[in-house]
Amino acid sequence: MKKFMYVNRHAPHGTIYPLEGLEVVLIGAAFDQDVSMAFIGDGVFQLNKGQDTADSGMKNVAPTYGALGDYEVTKLYVEQESLDERGLELNDLMNLTWEDEEEDWAEKPSIRVVSRAQLSDLLEQQDVILNF
């Protein structure tokens, strides 16, 4: 089993990278590897609450993040410094959860806010890092 990390640094909608990146994560979830996602820089905007694409006609990817827990992608690391620079708090982000089978299906948060230093450690621990 390898540790796969998907690094997200783009804001949603301005480019296709977040949407197509998410497709890789969902397919990758079927391969029984240790999967996590990192949101750095503008990548944190992907998790912004209340995205409404009706008037822009863009594909609304936001609901798909809600499915990640069901695909056993339960570790979404968000860099604190990136949030701070953008005036965002955890409360501004979608409430993404997963159900822990080992604790009677207790609902737990998937978003884990980490410091830059902690993220640096996490990157070191990976086997394969993909960038979107």
């Binding site: 390898k2 796969f4 296709i16 990278y17 197509e20 497709e23 890789v24 397919i27 990758g28 079927a30 391969f31 590897q33 394969v128 890092i129 993909l130 960038n131």
Partner: protein, 130 residues
């Protein structure tokens, strides 16, 4: 060592396809194995045989096809990204009711699972993009 290479941008617009190609050549020259080159996002445009670049410039698509031919390299274009951008082989054209196909020699169209496999099977996976 076994390498997998991911190419996220199309030919000419970004240098990514060039850097990826030169890296791949250098790895082969050094005796390493290339497990797969996987084309995603606009990288799928590297796989159309319809390009006619100016004569005094490098032919990026042909270069990949030659590499595949000379070194038996597996060049895979992601089906989802290809469908979005209009890169098709004969099967895809038939399946989607299109009146033509344009995949270049040496490339094949397949799913994202091939990218994950490329990451699992290789010792190193490198990503070239914007």
């Amino acid at each position: 060592m076994k390498f997998s290479v991911m190419v996220n941008e199309g030919p000419y617009t970004h240098q990514a396809a060039d850097t990826a190609y030169h890296f791949t050549r250098a790895a082969l020259n050094a005796g390493h194995e290339i497990f797969r080159v996987f084309f995603y996002h606009d990288g799928v445009y590297n796989g159309t045989r319809m390009t006619t670049p100016p004569q005094d410039d490098r032919h990026i698509v042909d270069r990949w096809s030659e590499l595949a031919h000379d070194h038996d390299i597996d060049l895979v274009v992601c089906v989802a990204a290809a469908q979005r951008r209009g890169i098709l082989d004969k099967d895809e054209a038939k399946r989607n009711g299109k009146d033509g196909d344009n995949i270049a020699p040496g490339f094949r169209i397949s799913g994202l699972g091939q990218l994950i496999e490329a990451g699992i099977e290789a010792d190193r996976l490198l990503v070239f993009g914007d």
